[in-house]
Symmetry: C2
Subunit: 143 residues, 2 copies
């Protein structure tokens, strides 16, 4: 999660909401990303999406079977849907997101009957560090 | 919707589930895509995502305010989430998708309290043509 937090800090430096993500397979990082919809001119450019796309290119398959996703914020509906499509094995996230999260909030996507894949889910890892990073970012922008 | 159906046929020719999408602003097509996760090695490469990414690059913004999305199948949770992020004004879709759809099925994303944007939604346009295309594709693969 420290690697994902480092990526989140890169997002903040670029003026983007600080969220970072990595994909790990067999102990090796095969994809990484930080949130960049504004600088990338791309509404889908969340950290998780970028990391999953990179990992899929690296392993030569649209399915990331056996891969772990580490991300600093609870995934939104778009990212949770992509996680299901990619067949991510284990999802680890730091801060929960009552406003935009879709795992333990809102649509609770992995609890839906129609979801075609559910990863193992581990929440709250380095939660305080991720939350402080987000709070600091928004406080600075309001100042 | 005819343009989106033509894109869906391109997907089928490539061996991908036939779904096509276009983005229209002021009567002009500014983005298009067809479903290609397998050939693109990309779990996020649904028609809508590709079309929205292209449109955002074309207009130089991650927000597709005032834009219409025409797609041949009811969007899934990933795509519906992206539609909300992109601030799509109007969503037109053809066939409904009881298994994977997230607009009128499953999480019904745009009816969630936490959704930050709801487009106007028009369903069932050229429904039979889109459904026949999907059915034909799956029947051929099972044969």
């Amino acid at each position: 999660m420290e690697a994902a937090l480092a990526l989140a800090r890169q997002a903040a430096q670029a003026g983007e909401v600080p969220v970072g993500a990595i994909i790990v397979r067999d102990g090796k990082v095969i994809g990484q990303g930080f949130n960049r919809p504004l600088t990338g001119l791309d509404p889908t450019a969340h950290a998780e999406i970028i990391a999953m796309r990179e990992a899929a290119q690296n392993i030569g398959s649209d399915r990331l079977t056996g891969c772990d996703l580490w991300v600093t914020l609870e995934p939104c509906a778009m990212c949770a849907g992509a996680i299901a499509h990619a067949r991510i094995a284990r999802l680890y996230y730091a801060a929960s997101d009552p406003k935009g999260g879709a795992v333990e909030h809102g649509p609770r996507l992995f609890e839906q009957d129609t979801i075609h894949h559910r990863p193992e889910i581990y929440a709250g890892i380095c939660e305080r560090e991720a939350r402080d990073l987000l709070r600091g970012f928004f406080q600075e922008r309001r100042a």
